[in-house]
């Protein structure tokens, strides 16, 4: 358009270049579509745009190192004479030229390299060079480098230096100061509050005394305020990992030491050393894996062990090491004046820093709110609903627009639950609605009603449309039924269900009275309390009790009603009151302890349970799953009532099933199991010779516990008393004889048990006792054959009396009839043991399995005996040896009658008793 403007208009300004003038017959060029517009770089190469996330531009040929013709590797020609020189490719080899230009990604500009930089700049590197020089092959070569040091220092610094300035000092006239203040400690940053003034000031004053007056110091170097804006989202003071340090500055083994500056310096030193040594730099360390050229592949799978970590606080910490982490360190900056800490920055003209820090700002906490404070303000004045105020109230309500002319138009929130229920047409809850009136005593209620009636009448006379808010009050007043309260209360109480609330459980009479009172209340009777009160009580007591009852009723009702109105019954039965209890529990240990004491291991001390091993466990143990169909693991569990008594009682189910096995079974198992353990070298042929004594010892050992419990007997007789405890109950005479001649108990077992007592002595004494006993037993035999059935308990005593020769033995005898009666009390009679007296010796030779069987039976009996023995002791002094026999006979007579019964009893009973254990 500018071109078409005529030349005549000189003052027009033209912008841009003019279009080519259209030729005749030429078509107007179509604009290039967007997708065909291409961008080429300076060398005419296409630049493809990939989008922001892929870098925005492409590099190379479609982001590859190749060309359109493909990638050609660098020619590699090697011969014996001419080896291919190893070229180390840098990143620059893969970059385009324009990347290195001023606006490229790696702009190149000319800088002085470290080799030509001033050495004075950092002392550390200098030191490193020195060290390198010493270590190097030709020591001292670096010294020449120092001679020709190119200067990189600016002119200003040079000038300053010439004026006497040194690095680290401030600029300005010298001041009187402590030298230590010259160095600001950059490592210590203090944010927030200053140090307590006493600390720093005191130390400052203290050191001032030693300050020579004529010494001046250079001013403090000013720390330039870092004005670079924080543009990132890192935390304050965050510094990214220094690549030089991360890659080769610090060896991979050590972790970065962030705390001590000194070690960092040494690390730098080391790093320089390595560099100078020509060690191949690269990425090392575990975090980056091990490269193919790395040699240290010995710990590819290194595990992190605890030993690599510091577990002890090192003593490198400053100070005497008395402080822990949190204790104040001995700061170097302790001596710093606080005013330096407070304000770092430019001080405005005309202002100076305060020498004293203002005290900490006192913070006044907000006042404590009273407990009942509610942060809502009611503006409506509260007016008593009296007659006088009615108009006023009405006016107020009108003014606020809250007037409630009709209860039906009351707002939703003004209704209570009962009213809402009525409106919705729902049936009321079963639980009684709580009402204050329910809790009042009769008299009070009466009085209240009267008062209310009076007031209501007054109200009615004056007011037409006023309705009481309280529906209950309203109904009560309108219906005017004085006994309606009674009915109401009675009905509610009747609804309340059983009164398991017993406030006076301690005093049953009182509780009874209270219950009567409540009952009569339920039935709607009047004057109930007076009737049920104790007539013997004084007036004061009555009053007191009345009060108590009322209060108890209130308490009961209130708790009940409030709770019942809040909760509804669950629709489905919950599992809450059921707990999973292992079905089989180990029985109570009292019986077991007794059994252990008597060394009656076996059925009595054993509990057997069904136990389900895990399937995997069976697999691992190469065992077939005993319960392939069950999903139970462990002991089977059953659901039981949580509060059931049975949870606390042990359930003997498993043992019953097991111990239902009768004595015969036990016998069988004994037969099976006992002879399993014969030991070859211990079974002797001669054992028969000593059989008597040994078997006696065995029985002694078996009934050791009983022996201990028995009254002291002469030492020589000690073995004789043993068998008396293990009385046969079922075995007949003939059996015994047979067994005596027939089977022998396995010797090894006897020996095993008989250990502690010396062999020779006891055996010899035993034989003596045998001889002694022989005549007495024969005498006894005549007696017992006459009275065939002698109760076991007495017979055992008889036997004791036989064996006992001294007074101590006598003392244990039951002689009086009382005792026998007492014995009968303790349980059913035991079967006749007519043989016990005579065959005490035979018993000694009995087989062990039989004894075990007997033991089960006689266990109960033993318990009885224990009890008896206590009694024996009481009567110890009374008894005499003379009347022993006669009384014994009489006792046997008394028990004679019940013999047949008892014999029957024990067969069944012993097993039953066993089951109970």
């Amino acid at each position: 358009a500018a071109a078409e403007s005529s030349d005549s208009e000189e003052d027009l300004v033209s912008y841009g270049s003019a279009l080519q003038p259209l030729q005749e017959g030429e078509r107007i060029k179509k604009p290039v579509p967007l997708q065909e517009q291409t961008v080429k770089d300076a060398k005419g190469r296409y630049q493809r745009f990939h989008g922001a996330f892929t870098g925005g531009f492409s590099a190379g040929y479609f982001n590859t190192v190749g060309t359109k013709e493909g990638w050609t590797p660098s020619a590699f020609v090697s011969s014996r004479q001419k080896r291919a020189d190893r070229t180390i490719l840098g990143p620059e080899d893969f970059m385009d030229e324009e990347d290195l230009s001023e606006f490229g990604i790696a702009p190149k500009d000319i800088t002085t390299t470290d080799d030509f930089a001033s050495k004075a700049k950092d002392r550390i590197k200098e030191k490193a060079r020195q060290i390198a020089g010493v270590v190097a092959a030709i020591p001292g070569t670096t010294a020449f480098d120092d001679l020709i040091g190119p200067s990189k220092i600016t002119v200003g610094v040079e000038l300053l230096r010439k004026m006497g300035w040194k690095e680290g000092q401030g600029i300005g006239p010298r001041v009187k100061r402590k030298p230590c203040r010259q160095k600001p400690d950059p490592t210590v940053k203090i944010y927030g509050c200053a140090l307590p003034p006493g600390l720093s000031e005191g130390s400052e004053d203290e050191e001032d005394e030693y300050q020579p007056e004529n010494v001046t110091f250079a001013p403090k170097d000013v720390m330039p305020v870092d004005l670079t804006p924080k543009e990132n989202v890192h935390g304050l003071g965050y510094k990214g990992l220094d690549p030089s340090q991360a890659l080769f500055g610090v060896s991979g083994r050590e972790h970065l030491n962030l705390f001590t500056g000194g070690s960092e310096e040494t690390n730098n030193l080391l790093g320089d050393l390595r560099h100078s040594k020509g060690r191949k730099l690269g990425i090392t360390g575990q975090a980056f894996g091990v490269g193919a050229l790395e040699e240290e592949d010995d710990d590819i799978y290194a595990t992190d062990t605890l030993s690599k970590y510091d577990t002890v606080l090192k003593d490198e910490e400053p100070g005497d090491g008395l402080y822990g982490w949190t204790a104040p360190k001995q700061y170097k900056s302790k001596k710093r004046p606080e005013r330096e800490l407070k304000y770092i920055g430019k001080i405005l003209d005309g202002f100076s820093l305060a020498s004293k820090s203002s005290g900490p700002i006192k913070i006044y906490p907000p006042p404590n709110l009273p407990r009942n404070y509610r942060p809502v303000h009611y503006f409506r004045p509260v007016i008593a609903a009296g007659n006088d105020n009615y108009h006023l109230q009405k006016a107020l309500e009108e003014s606020t627009g809250k007037r409630e002319s009709d209860p039906t138009q009351q707002s939703r929130h003004a209704l209570n639950a009962a009213q809402r229920r009525e409106q919705l047409g729902e049936t009321g809850l079963k639980g009684p609605a709580p009402s204050v009136l329910d809790y009042l005593s009769e008299k009070d209620r009466e009085r209240l009603k009267e008062m209310k009636q009076a007031s209501e009448e007054q109200m009615k006379a004056k007011i037409v449309a006023q309705q009481s808010r309280n529906s209950r009050f309203q109904s009560a007043s309108s219906d005017d039924g004085s006994h309606k309260w009674e009915m109401l209360l009675g009905g509610q109480l009747a609804n309340a269900g059983s009164s398991d609330f017993k406030p006076f459980a301690k005093n049953p009479e009182k509780q009874k009275r209270y219950e009567n009172f409540v009952k009569s209340l339920k039935q709607g009777e009047k004057d109930t309390l007076e009737r049920f009160l104790d007539p013997n009580m004084t007036e004061w007591e009555r009053g007191r009790e009345r009060e108590e009852f009322c209060r108890a009723a209130v308490f009961y009702r209130s708790s009940h009603s409030t709770l019942s109105s809040r909760f509804t019954r669950a629709k489905y039965e919950d599992d809450v009151d059921k707990v999973e209890v292992p079905r089989d529990q180990e029985n109570n240990i009292d019986d077991k302890e007794a059994a252990v004491k008597m060394k009656m291991f076996g059925k009595l001390t054993r509990d057997k349970f069904e136990w389900h091993p895990d399937k995997l466990l069976c697999k691992r143990f190469n065992v077939r799953d005993p319960y392939p169909d069950s999903s139970v693991v462990g002991l089977p569990k059953v659901k039981r009532d949580k509060y059931s008594v049975f949870n606390f009682l042990t359930t003997p189910e498993p043992t019953t099933s097991v111990t239902q096995a009768t004595n015969e079974k036990i016998q069988d198992s004994n037969l099976l199991n006992k002879p399993k353990k014969p030991s070859r070298w211990d079974v002797s042929d001669k054992e028969k010779e000593k059989k008597d004594s040994i078997s006696e010892f065995i029985s002694l050992a078996r009934s050791k516990a009983d022996v201990q419990q028995q009254p002291p007997v002469p030492a020589t007789e000690e073995c004789g008393t043993g068998p008396s405890e293990t009385l046969p109950t079922l075995v007949t005479n003939e059996d015994k004889n047979q067994e005596e001649e027939g089977r022998r108990p396995p010797m090894d077992l006897f020996k095993a048990i008989f250990v502690s007592s010396s062999d020779e002595k006891s055996s010899s004494s035993e034989e003596e006792s045998d001889e002694e006993e022989q005549p007495t037993t024969s005498v006894r035999e005549s007696e017992t054959t006459k009275q065939v059935h002698v109760p076991d308990s007495s017979s055992s005593n008889v036997q004791e009396s036989v064996t006992a020769t001294t007074d101590s033995g006598i003392s244990s005898l039951p002689t009086s009839k009382q005792e026998l009666d007492a014995a009968q009390e303790f349980g059913p009679k035991l079967p006749p043991a007519f043989s016990s007296g005579r065959f005490c010796k035979l018993l000694d030779r009995k087989e062990k399995h039989r004894k075990i069987r007997e033991r089960h039976k006689t266990k109960k009996e033993r318990k009885r005996k224990k009890e008896k023995k206590k009694k024996h002791k009481k009567q110890k002094n009374k008894e005499k040896h003379k009347n022993k026999k006669s009384e014994k006979e009489s006792s046997s007579d008394t028990t004679d009658s019940s013999d047949s019964l008892s014999s029957v009893d024990t067969t069944g009973l012993s097993s039953k008793e066993l089951l109970r254990r």
């Binding site: 595990t303 062990t305 180990e586 240990i589 077991k592 302890e593 059994a595 252990v596 060394k599 009656m600 291991f601 076996g602 059925k603 001390t605 054993r606 509990d607 057997k608 349970f609 069904e610 136990w611 389900h612 091993p613 895990d614 995997l616 466990l617 069976c618 691992r620 143990f621 190469n622 065992v623 077939r624 005993p626 319960y627 693991v633 462990g634 002991l635 198992s669 004994n670 199991n673 006992k674 399993k676 353990k677 030991s679 070859r680 070298w681 211990d682 079974v683 002797s684 042929d685 001669k686 054992e687 090894d748 077992l749 020996k751 095993a752 048990i753 008989f754 250990v755 502690s756 075990i852």
Partner: protein, 327 residues
Amino acid sequence: MVFPRPRPARPELPRQRVQTLQCGQGAGCPFGGPVRGSRGSLLSPPADGNYCLTCGSDKTLKLWNPHKGTALRTYQGHGYEVLDAAGSFDNSQICSGGADKAVALWDVSTGQVVRKYRGHAGKVNCVQFNEEATVIVSGSIDSTVRCWDCRSRRPDPVQVLDEAKDGVSSVKLSAHEILTGSVDGRVRRYDLRVGQLCSDYIGSPITSVCFSKDGQCVLAASLDSTLRLLDKDTGELLGEYTGHRSTTYRLDCVLSEQDTHVGCASEDGHVYFWDLVEGSLVLTLPVGQAVVQSLAFHPRLPCLLAACQGQVTLWREDTFQPEGDPD
């Protein structure tokens, strides 16, 4: 007592001190008392008895050749004292349990922890491998016995046996049984094959249990200074062995290699041996001054290891020549 004429060779008992291993474990006990410092135990395989494991309050396990008296390897990785260790049948793995409530499975040759099983709520008192070293059974003071799977990577136990009412002091395994002794005074035998749990009431806290070699009997040591030999099937008392002192510590009981004798450590620094059948005290070995903390009997030879005061002593029969090859 007279013995039958065709009688087999009289079993020998270890009566002679042959070797002493200064394992030093538990020597630095901070409270002076002989707390369970080191436990010597023969590496469990019945076919082998060449090695010995000790563990203790220095949080390590040590593998020894007790016959030569050489320490072979130290295994560290437990956080607290190690209370028990056991070896697998092929000597390739070790399991251990300690006060860090963890059960560790070790590789013998590399010395590394293969796995750590955590789940016990208290100190692990005892560990055992099963026959094929596929399961570790550990008993803890938290009154549970846990069976850990060594095959899978499962972190939780295969099964928890929580029937004990008090801490489990000892666990032994047979081919298909788990035998546990608990402080609640019961010896429990879980029979996997039958699917039955037999609980025998002893009364006094059980310190150690073990099977007899024939698998028919169970020996239980309890804190009333009594060892009881119970019939496994019926629970009946077959023998009772007294004379030693065991009232406080968890002491071990052993059966000799042919089930002929019963041995038990004692708090008076001796090891007592009774004839299994007669029940008579046969031998008293003076091991040390303090409590004999651990005992182990060689599976085939009359050879005993006893740990006391941080050292393990090896005892052999009288006829044994120290120069001879131990096997």
